[in-house]
């Protein structure tokens, strides 16, 4: 099936006259190369364009060089380095005994456990040589780890940080591709594990195993589709009042510098669960190729547009009491920062307040300052509330975790 999709996609590129080669003054041979031969993100790249995903630097930024002094927050908030030298720090989850679990992606392929020893953070690698282990969740004593292919469980993990148990395979019905294959997983208030499967491409026709968010029982049984037409979600949370799922979604590339938007979406219990991909983007724009004959009003509408190419990732509803009362029930959302845009945007954390009608009332900046001279000083990936109500923010660019607290001064 995938082979068919890729071939079809190549033919599309050929039809549109989109070429990626410099040409070297030679005629192309009659048979086109397989699509696997160009990186997936480059499909659809206009001729002569040189934008590319931001490469990952393999060494963390030294702690004394982290840009804490350049970061901006609303009045009364303070940011500090909570832990540094954590290469490729991505997903954040909190154990019952206070262990912070940190996932990573291409560069490190590790899962870390960070513990607080009298105000100093101790970092242990508890799993390594994993392939894109971005998705983690802690639930009832166990750590769940999702790669593009499968989900495993490490039981009684906090008591065994020095000698983690062998992982138990619970689910292997994921599609396994690298493009948009890395995961973000959460256990919902229904006790089920939510797992997305992204589209294996920038834009392509999809089958019934891609571009969706599923939920499964914790033993891997009972697979159900929760949301469809979701290009690539790498962040979601559950409204503590209603239990509803809210998720972020990354919009397609190469249409325009300014378009289409990433989105924040609300899956209501009775509403439309198809969010439009690949036919419609941001709820109101039919795809130039796949959108013909489609009416975007037929698809679930985004709760909020989040900006074009900003890479909206991890998010959390705030339930703590440390921050001023207006933040309770609001969503803190990490925007990783753009690559498919000449002037970098995002690389921040914003706050979105739900209205009482299932949508979003307003969005405000929260933590920013990670872009300097069109270069990244850091790229926020995930946000997580600590027991004291402070907020941790992971940064895979610098290999650091920041803590934001409210001091009122």
């Amino acid at each position: 099936m995938l082979t068919t999709l890729r071939r079809a996609s190549w033919l599309r590129a050929a039809t549109l006259g989109i070429g990626l080669a410099g040409g070297a003054g030679l005629a192309l041979a009659a048979d086109p190369p397989k699509e696997e031969e160009v990186p997936f993100w480059a499909i659809g790249m206009p001729k002569g364009n040189t934008l590319a995903p931001v490469p990952s630097f393999p060494i963390p930024t030294p702690v004394d060089k982290l840009p804490v002094g350049k970061l901006k927050l609303p009045p009364g908030f303070k940011v500090e380095v909570w832990a540094g030298n954590i290469l490729d720090a991505r997903g954040l989850r909190l154990g019952d005994q206070g262990t912070v679990f940190v996932s990573s992606l291409f560069v490190a392929g590790k899962i870390y456990a960070v513990t607080d020893k009298g105000g100093k953070r101790e970092v242990k690698t508890i799993a390594e040589k994993l392939f894109l282990p971005n998705g983690i969740e802690y639930y009832k004593g166990a750590l769940y780890v999702a790669t593009p292919k499968e989900i495993t469980r490490y039981d009684n993990i906090e008591a065994n940080l020095d000698h983690p148990p062998a992982p138990v395979l619970i689910y292997d019905k994921l599609t396994g591709e690298v493009p948009h294959g890395w995961k973000y997983i959460r256990v919902g208030p229904d006790g089920k594990l939510y797992v997305p499967v992204g589209a294996p491409c920038n834009i392509c026709a999809i089958d019934d195993r891609h571009a969706q968010i599923r939920r499964i029982n914790l033993d891997g049984t009972g697979e159900e589709m929760v949301a469809l037409g979701v290009r690539n979600s790498v962040g979601f949370d559950f409204d503590p009042k209603t239990g509803d799922l809210w998720f972020t979604n990354n919009g397609r590339d190469w249409l325009s510098e300014d378009f289409p938007n990433d989105t924040l979406n609300h899956v209501s219990k009775s509403g439309n669960k198809h969010f439009g991909y690949p036919f419609c983007h941001q709820g109101n724009f039919a795809d130039p190729e796949y959108g013909w004959g489609k009416n975007c009003a037929d698809y679930a509408q985004p709760a909020q547009l989040m900006g074009a190419h900003v890479a909206t990732l991890g998010m959390r509803f705030y339930t703590g009491t440390m921050f001023p009362a207006k933040y309770r029930g609001a969503m803190f959302i990490a925007r990783h920062g753009s690559w498919n845009k000449s002037q970098k945007v995002g690389a921040d954390v914003v706050v979105a307040w739900p209205d009482d009608k299932g949508g979003v009332a307003k969005v405000e900046p929260f933590l920013s300052g990670f872009i300097e001279n069109n270069e990244y000083l850091g790229r926020p990936v995930d946000v997580m509330q600590m027991k004291d109500g402070s907020l941790l923010i992971s940064d895979d660019h610098a290999g650091a975790i920041y803590r934001v607290s409210y001091t009122g001064s």
């Binding site: 080669a21 410099g22 070297a24 696997e36 031969e37 160009v38 894109l132």
Partner: protein, 200 residues
């Protein structure tokens, strides 16, 4: 060659201990130069030239050697002796080496150049490595690299014995036959040096 590379291990370890970043650039490159050549122009079989290579690519490869994710006994030993600061220092030095003509390249074979150019165009090597194959950031310069090293690297990607963070290069070579790789290596090795580089 094996002898000289072995000697380098000890030198690199000493250097790492002394703090590579505290010394002048030419001294700091000296342990690399014993295998990779003066100015990074390698005279040694299957040992890559580092001249004109990008620091981002260099540090990524040093990281992969150190992590045991790129197989080369000598380079892994050397990298394992390096701290993060050493990795930064060595890659910064490498990134400052200007591109240079290769060491005694084989004569140009026009028929192989034509075949290699057609392969490079058909398989869109330039889409990542640049129209003149000079690379950028984490993507290596290929133009003017040693032909035997290019052949070795291509074969390793083709057989899957070498992978990067992902299998992007392995997939990029999916449509090439092993028998086609030598012509591609011949073409890239002679670009910009004894044959004009194509323009973007």
């Amino acid at each position: 060659m094996t002898w000289s590379r072995g000697a380098t291990v000890a030198a690199a370890a000493l250097l790492a201990a002394a703090g590579a970043h505290a010394q002048p650039a030419t001294d700091r490159f000296a342990p690399c130069a014993s295998c990779h050549g003066e100015g990074g122009v390698s005279p040694n079989f299957e040992t890559p030239s580092l001249a004109g290579q990008h620091s981002f690519y260099a540090i990524t490869q040093l990281f992969l050697f150190r992590a045991g994710r790129r197989a080369d006994e000598q380079m892994t030993k050397e990298a394992k002796a390096m701290s993060d600061d050493d990795l930064r220092a060595f890659s910064d030095i490498i990134g400052q080496l200007p591109p240079a003509a290769p060491f005694r390249p084989d004569p140009v074979d026009p028929a192989r150049m034509t075949r290699g150019a057609a392969l490079a165009a058909k398989h869109r090597c330039a889409s990542c490595h640049g129209g003149d194959y000079s690379g950028e950031k984490q993507v290596p310069r290929l133009a003017g690299q040693r032909e035997d090293y290019l052949g070795k690297a291509l074969a390793e990607f083709k057989t899957g014995t070498r992978i990067g963070y992902t299998q992007a290069m392995n997939e990029a070579l999916a449509g090439l036959a092993p028998s086609e790789l030598p012509d591609l290596a011949h073409y890239l090795a002679h670009l910009g040096v004894v044959a004009p580089a194509p323009t973007r």
